[in-house]
Symmetry: C2
């Protein structure tokens, strides 16, 4: 697999170095661990937010460290959970007296390592709690659903609550509200390849797609014949609308993204099809993001995420944020797409 990388296995450290070189006003890299922290520490009376996970999902999660979102991101090796000591180091570095909320994607390795780190931090006298994001609607049983794009919306919305000075219990309640009202689904046109493995995570025929794809290049829940954007948009939105029991007139936040290797032409056509279809159902789009938010290396494909909004979520969603990947400088100023 040809990649713009150097030695396989070095890609995570080198990527984080690149991010820190480009954005020293936003982040700093912890050279002992592959952890990224805010360049400027949050006040002690504000709840700190920690997240992370395997790499390969960029800009998640280091791209979301900064004002209004995360305080720390622990970057594991590509598609591999960060270790317990690494996550514990992140929690200890950014902990405030208001407490720490740890945001975990629902994968067994992440859940085990992040919850262990939370327990160890608590044993060391740190006020810490966690939430687990399981938004991938392609899987029927809720407890087996994987954590994907809604994780980023938890960063954004719980992060804004933390900046407002809300206590840990409230920040957790709001994070949980995002999880309960958000769903995501993905489709892959091509597989991806982990640098150290040097081969594709699965094989796909030239007329096949993987519907309900995870973010680690694992096969989707259903292999299907290729469909055009409009048909995929309908199938994906229907899955979410049904599961969230969305009603005509509901206000939603819409995220339409590529999976890492999807060009902007396709992202904008797919956005158009998703947007026109949700509006045909009578849903009201309050705001949208189009870009790359929770990706799978060089995979080509798309993901749709929908969050049902209420006044509290709307207020926190459009609150200011200043990170590498999401900048909100005023109400309704969308993250830019380049």
């Amino acid at each position: 697999m040809k990649k713009l990388l150097n030695k396989p296995g070095e890609e995570v450290r080198e990527m984080l170095e690149g991010m820190a070189l480009a954005f020293p006003d936003i982040i700093r890299l912890d050279p002992q661990w592959n952890n990224v922290y805010r360049a400027y520490k949050k006040p002690n009376n504000r709840v700190a937010l920690v997240s992370g996970g395997g790499s390969g999902h960029e800009p998640a999660h280091a791209g979301y460290v900064g004002y209004g979102m995360l305080d720390a991101a622990a970057a594991g090796a590509t598609f591999t959970s960060p270790t317990v000591p690494q996550v514990l180091a992140a929690i200890k570095e950014v902990a405030t007296s208001a407490g720490v909320l740890v945001i975990i994607k629902n994968y067994s390795g992440d859940v085990m390592n992040f919850t262990s780190a939370v327990k160890m931090a608590q044993a060391q006298g740190i006020k810490a709690d966690y939430v687990i994001v399981n938004d991938d609607v392609s899987i029927s049983e809720k407890e087996r659903r994987r954590g994907t794009t809604i994780t980023v919306l938890v960063h954004k919305i719980a992060g804004a609550a933390a900046e407002e000075g809300q206590p840990l219990e409230e920040v957790k309640r709001i994070a949980q509200k995002v999880i309960e009202n958000g769903r995501d689904i993905g489709v892959a046109l091509t597989p991806c390849s982990v640098p150290a493995a040097g081969k594709y995570t699965f094989e796909l025929g030239s007329d096949e797609i993987e519907f309900g794809i995870g973010i680690h290049g694992e096969p989707g829940v259903q292999r299907m014949k290729y469909m055009i954007s409009k048909e995929l948009a309908k199938m994906m939105v229907d899955k979410i609308v049904e599961d969230l029991k969305l009603q005509k007139g509901d206000e939603i936040f819409l995220v339409v993204q590529g999976t890492g290797g999807t060009p902007y032409m396709e992202k904008f056509v797919f956005y158009r099809d998703v947007r026109q279809y949700v509006e045909s159902l009578g849903l009201k789009v309050f705001w949208s993001w189009i870009g790359e938010f929770m990706t799978s290396l060089e995979m080509q494909g798309g993901r749709v995420a929908i969050l049902r909004l209420d006044e509290e979520l709307k207020r926190l969603l459009i609150a200011p944020a200043y990170t590498i990947a999401v900048r909100v400088t005023g109400p309704m100023l969308a993250p830019i797409v380049s």
Copy 2:
């Protein structure tokens, strides 16, 4: 070729519809032509900027329409120049009494159609002039060099001069200064495919790359064996440094980008390698952008652009801009990468 698109040939209109649906506060789509204009018209005493070209290079050019950059972008079919009447319509729509500067990439079709439109606009009493961008350093003869990434920097810098209220002659002089001091070079790890053609623009072996690639999927100037990011960074920077005769201590603006299908992990590793190498040469990086700025559909690979700066170019580069793809909300606030 599987793409998140609908009927081949409809992709440009549908993409522009998606952009206009997502960003109605920034752009509006002209339904007769595939032209994109600012949502809010510029004052009549400011020079207007018009650009455009074949589609497939997103976010170029519609993504650069807005405050501080373009007033109009004419989007041709994929990899095909817009027509003379289309460009003329764009010029007429946004023309002010201060005049119009048309920014053309150096491709025979673009040069012919855009200069014809300028002449027709002049014949109709519109004050209009143009510049031609030829920054692709991989080709030796200057007049044959193609227009690539520096075009976007002309949009940004000449656009800022126009907002300042500088006259057409000055805006043109500044645009020309950017062209003289900027160079770009690209490498492809994979080819791309035009939707209507349904096949790759060239074939590449699994251990081959195309060095000096253009932005239309045309083969590069040299087919080479695969090299790692660090080696490519050195080769590409050397080409630019030699051609621009850059000296130790020179201040530069650095753009490191993917070619459409390059994931962020690779863009940040490649950025790190380019940045460390230019700094090892004693060049001073004033600011950088990392993302996708002038792409080639789903091609995987990278481009490096360098602009030699002086005080005038620095002032205009960091001036405010508000477009879909580039937002500068204050000095040194980089465009975000998601």
